[in-house]
């Protein structure tokens, strides 16, 4: 048992820390630190710098740019990325469609899509969720009917993250409505977002941001060569893809940065004779959250070294990670207190973080909902305990 990094791991940390701090432009990192990342530009700029240095897709096979890092190295890389306030790479490209194509794609599909996916020349979005489906993904209704060399796709996707910037969508569609089980008869299609018949409607969240969209598909024609793997077996690829996120879901770095910010803000906020950070109750609340976060981070380490039930680990990380993301935004709203009441006044009167705090708090409730709600995670964990 060993908590400290080995010498090699420590020098790796040093190396990536220097990379992030010198190669990623400062203005991009500052915008990220204050929650004002410019999409899609900042994301694309970062991804291309990473790619130029061989850091874009470290977990892919070496043939397509992967680095065959140890789990510890992967963790350290991500940790340093967060600590340096570098916006994260687009997960749809790096963690989702890339690995799926590497594993199940044809040689043609790999050659056509992987380089542009790694360099973010192709911006992917994920067409899984549908209205009225919620956490019950297998109830999807978007249909794809074979017509010669094409599928004709009709239906509606929703909660499609950043679809407004997307060039392509990977989507689950129902190709066999008569399959005996709902999970069968689903296929995995790559759809060009410029295809006729696609209509994207942005959905505004409670903080005014446009992050998710409805995507309407009406007689959209998709060439059969854009089918991934076998027809009607898309559920297998989707499960592979969803199981691939693993440890990133905890987003420990995001919460860590936010707690550090909270302390700075509390120390700048006058209260009583001193500042809000002098308040014993607030200090205790921050200390407790820092401790909970440390426990989550050690759990992450344990996951990388295999000392934790593998069936439950992703769910534990998602569940606790979401709760802490929710709690840290809540903390900042509470630090803002009465000053959270102005959302568009002059920033010399009320600082911008305070103006944003309540609306951010509200919108951040999404982290316990998206990507498998906390209730779904609890059922997965319970299943590993009870075997039912």
């Amino acid at each position: 048992m060993r908590m400290r990094l080995s010498n090699d791991e420590a020098s790796f940390r040093q190396q990536v820390r220097e990379f992030f701090n010198t190669q990623i432009p400062k203005d991009i990192r500052e915008r990220a630190a204050s929650g004002e990342t410019r999409e899609p530009d900042d994301i694309a700029d970062v991804q291309r710098i990473l790619n130029a240095h061989g850091y874009a897709v470290p977990s892919w096979p070496a043939a397509w740019g992967g680095r065959e890092w140890s789990p510890v190295q992967e963790h350290v890389f991500l940790d340093e990325m967060h600590l340096a306030h570098v916006p994260e790479p687009l997960t749809f490209n790096v963690d989702m469609i890339g690995p799926v194509l590497c594993e199940f794609g044809t040689d043609e599909q790999k050659a056509r899509f992987l380089p542009g996916t790694a360099n973010l020349d192709i911006w992917w979005c994920q067409g899984f969720s549908e209205p009225d489906a919620g956490s019950d993904l297998a109830s999807l209704r978007t249909s794809a009917v074979r017509d010669g060399d094409e599928f004709i796709v009709n239906g509606q996707k929703t909660w499609t993250t950043l679809a407004q910037h997307a060039d392509w969508m990977f989507a689950l569609v129902r190709t066999n409505p008569d399959a005996p089980k709902r999970q069968e008869g689903i296929s995995f299609l790559l759809i060009d977002m410029r295809s006729p018949g696609i209509n994207v409607r942005p959905i505004t969240l409670l903080d005014g941001s446009v992050e998710v969209n409805e995507v309407f598909l009406s007689d959209v024609r998709v060439p059969v060569e854009n089918l991934v793997g076998e027809q009607d077996r898309g559920w297998t690829y989707a499960k592979f893809l969803l199981g691939n996120e693993r440890t990133r879901v905890a987003r420990v770095g995001v919460s860590k940065n936010r707690l550090a910010l909270a302390k700075r803000l509390a120390a700048e906020t006058p209260a009583g004779q001193g500042t809000l950070l002098d308040d014993p109750m607030l200090r205790a609340r921050i200390a407790e959250m820092e401790n909970e976060l440390a426990a989550l981070e050690v759990t992450l380490f344990r996951a990388t070294s295999g000392d934790v039930d593998q069936a439950a680990i992703a769910s534990i990380l998602k569940l606790r990670g979401s709760e802490l993301q929710e709690q840290t935004t809540e903390l900042i709203a509470d630090i803002a207190g009465p000053t959270a009441l102005a959302v568009d006044g002059p920033s010399d009167e009320i600082p911008r973080w305070a103006q944003r705090s309540i609306r951010s708090y509200l919108a951040q409730r999404k982290v316990g909902i998206y990507g498998g709600s906390s209730e779904v995670q609890r059922m997965i964990i319970a299943k590993t305990l009870t075997g039912r």
């Binding site: 969720s129 009225d132 489906a133 919620g134 956490s135 019950d136 109830s139 929703t158 909660w159 959905i203 505004t204 969240l205 409670l206 005014g208 998710v212 906020t269 006058p270 209260a271 809000l276 308040d279 109750m281 607030l282 929710e326 809540e330 709203a333 509470d334 803002a336 207190g337 009465p338 000053t339 959270a340 009441l341 102005a342 959302v343 568009d344 006044g345 002059p346 009167e349 009320i350 309540i358 609306r359 708090y361 509200l362 919108a363 409730r365 999404k366 316990g368 909902i369 998206y370 709600s373 906390s374 209730e375 609890r378």
Partner: protein, 374 residues
């Protein structure tokens, strides 16, 4: 002990409920909220006609001569429908402060104007670098040959964007005093802002701004009283918002199906609804308690803090859970539940926060053996 409403109080509640049912639906509410001033003049006139704007103003001054129970009853209904009209800020609070003055007759015209809906007031009290309970007044009042002037800045004046007059706190030497400031006077500049729950307000800059003193006898006591009233009224409003948010959420879980069955049949969710219901009832209890005590003349900030603490605790959970239990649509701007959560967060911020009220309550626990109610 009696917690039932009288026949008149029930009639008032039903009148306000009906007025809002007639004037707003979700879509109209949304349009109004994002439009320029954020509320509707027609509704304001109807409220004046129904007697709501002058509810706690004596009949001699053009009001309905009712009391705190009536104000709280109306506030709960307003909370239930997320009514955007600034009844508390522009009418109830300004009227209450003016009525504390030594000779309210001096303010006869203003009070009548409030009750008739012709005049909008606003408290201008909070200043920079202060938290609840706001006492860091640095704005100074100076007497000149032409009368008094004020210099300083006031921030977060609720609905201060449209006020016809302000009741501004200021220092005369070290002493607290209140002044009437005309909204259109020289030397007053205002910067409007919006709130996270789609309301409005303004920051004020006062530079040698002409002002009329309000003779209060004990200005600190008057401030405490008007703050207690504000807290109690906001608690009552929060109850309405919580009850409705829980109702909407329960309905949603009853109609929404997943894995082939209504969500409400999932036991884990049913248990959470039960806990939420308990939280709402506990908050309602403490809110009613604070109302009853204030109605009895006991203007006790500790009791207001008790209610505020419970309301903050319950509101935080109700807001979070009612979004969460809705799933994805819960965090969208177009669906109504998020607006309830936003309103509850804004009410918490105005109340001052659970931490602050808990400290207020905790500071006194060695003074008594048991909490005695009433």
């Amino acid at each position: 002990m009696d917690f039932n409403l009288s026949r008149e109080q029930t009639a008032l509640r039903d009148a306000v409920r009906e007025l809002y049912r007639r004037n707003y639906d979700i879509e109209r509410l949304r349009e109004t909220a994002i439009a320029d001033r954020g509320w509707t003049s027609d509704v304001w006139r109807s409220l004046a006609e129904t007697g709501v704007l002058g509810l706690a103003i004596p009949e001699d001054f053009g009001g309905a001569g009712a009391g705190i129970v009536e104000v709280a009853t109306v506030m709960t209904e307003l909370g239930r429908v997320l009514a955007p009209e600034p009844i508390l800020d522009s009418a109830v609070i300004p009227a209450d402060l003016l009525l504390r003055s030594k000779d309210p007759r001096q303010w006869q015209g203003t009070l009548e104007g409030i009750a008739s809906g012709d005049l909008l007031g606003a408290m201008a009290h909070e200043e920079r670098g202060d938290r609840w309970p706001h006492r860091a007044v640095a704005t100074s009042a100076t007497e000149t040959a032409d009368g008094w002037t004020l210099t300083g800045s006031k921030r977060l004046v609720k609905h201060g964007d449209v006020a016809d007059f302000y009741l501004a706190s200021a220092r005369v030497g070290d002493d607290l005093a209140f002044f009437m400031v005309d909204g259109s006077t020289q030397g007053l500049s205002r910067t409007s802002f919006r709130t996270p729950d789609r309301r409005r307000g303004a920051h004020l800059l006062l530079e040698n701004t002409p002002a009329t003193p309000i003779e209060l006898g004990d200005p600190d006591a008057a401030l405490r009283r008007v703050e207690t009233l504000e807290q109690v009224a906001l608690c009552a409003e929060a109850i309405g918002s919580m009850e409705e948010a829980l109702r909407i959420t329960t309905d949603y879980l009853g109609s929404r199906k997943q894995f082939g069955t209504a969500l409400v049949t999932f036991q884990a969710l049913a248990h959470r609804l039960a806990d939420l219901h308990v939280l709402v009832e506990m908050a309602r209890s403490m809110s009613l308690y604070a109302v009853a005590v204030l109605e009895d003349g006991g203007d006790d900030p500790v009791i207001a803090s008790r209610a505020a603490l419970q309301v903050c605790r319950s509101a935080r959970v109700i807001g979070h859970e009612s979004i969460h239990l809705h799933g994805g649509i819960g965090v969208t701007e177009e669906y109504v539940i998020g607006q309830y959560a936003a309103r509850l967060m804004a009410i918490e911020a105005r109340l001052g926060g659970a931490l602050e009220h808990l400290q207020q309550v905790a500071s006194g626990i060695d003074a008594y053996d048991k909490v005695v109610l009433g």
